[in-house]
Symmetry: C2
Subunit: 192 residues, 2 copies
Amino acid sequence: MKLLEDRIRQDGTVLPGNVLKVDNFLNHQIDPQLMDELGAEFARRFQDAGITKILTVESSGIAPAVMAGLHMGVPVIFARKHKSLTLTDNLYTAKVYSYTKQVNNDISIDRRFLNPEEKVLIIDDFLANGQAVQGLLDIAATANIKVAGVGVVIEKRFQKGHKMVADAGIQLEALASIASFEDGQVIFATDK
Amino acid sequence: MKLLEDRIRQDGTVLPGNVLKVDNFLNHQIDPQLMDELGAEFARRFQDAGITKILTVESSGIAPAVMAGLHMGVPVIFARKHKSLTLTDNLYTAKVYSYTKQVNNDISIDRRFLNPEEKVLIIDDFLANGQAVQGLLDIAATANIKVAGVGVVIEKRFQKGHKMVADAGIQLEALASIASFEDGQVIFATDK
């Protein structure tokens, strides 16, 4: 998506360790107009997928997920992150390891919001190692619901999340796909 | 706002301890269409306030704040919650006590997103004891920026947050204002 790639080139910063900092429009300060455009693009790409609900994880996934939900006319659920719980009777939970923060968290969704007939779309801001998406896939599997697609704002295609979703045979749509970083510059897959 | 009051009557659950559970449309599962309507209403109520930026706190404030930002044409910043940090050179931080979770957290905003000329609108999902709003007011004071208003989706008018904001002389707009709970029913201020 050219609009997003241009914005990343303009406002993104590449930090050591292949970290792309986009906290001025995506995951700390948010540009609502851009989120609206991203939501419309997700809706376009998944328009024939029969999505009934969108799942994401707090916090950075919420803005693009809610805009996608607005354009698709479906509810959004954000999984909550927390330390491992002892009481999980009414929750679907999954373990998620954060490479950025180097901590293990549980994520959870209230059971009463996931019915067997759902076809869900998973949305997140980044797909890198794929831990958050894997956690949501685990919850979907436990809840016995169909995952019709995974949509991410930015993927680092060279990390293992892309392959994990592709190998699972799930439609994956990344609105910007980073092929590599070279000399502190972002090389998009579309540049090649 | 009648649309919201009707939704709370229909889908909200009053739990012991004056807790209103609205996790089926506001703070776990989200209704994007409703958020869009709430955002438009915030924009209408603060249209003459000269707002340049919206501040909220992760996670439940993000959806209504981003929709308000979309309708007002301004960026949104969500403050991040975390354990107290030792390194805060580039951050404005404030302490926030959560009555619900009975924990102290810091919230923080990157300094480079708050310029002295900003006029900010603080948005959150709930105003009860006002701890989160107070934290954002503390950050605004430290950053020496003007707070032009506080907008909340639901306030419990009988708790101390309402008085705290009103006493500070700040325009407060609650889209639904709960006067009391009686026999497990929500009594709105507009009912009286």
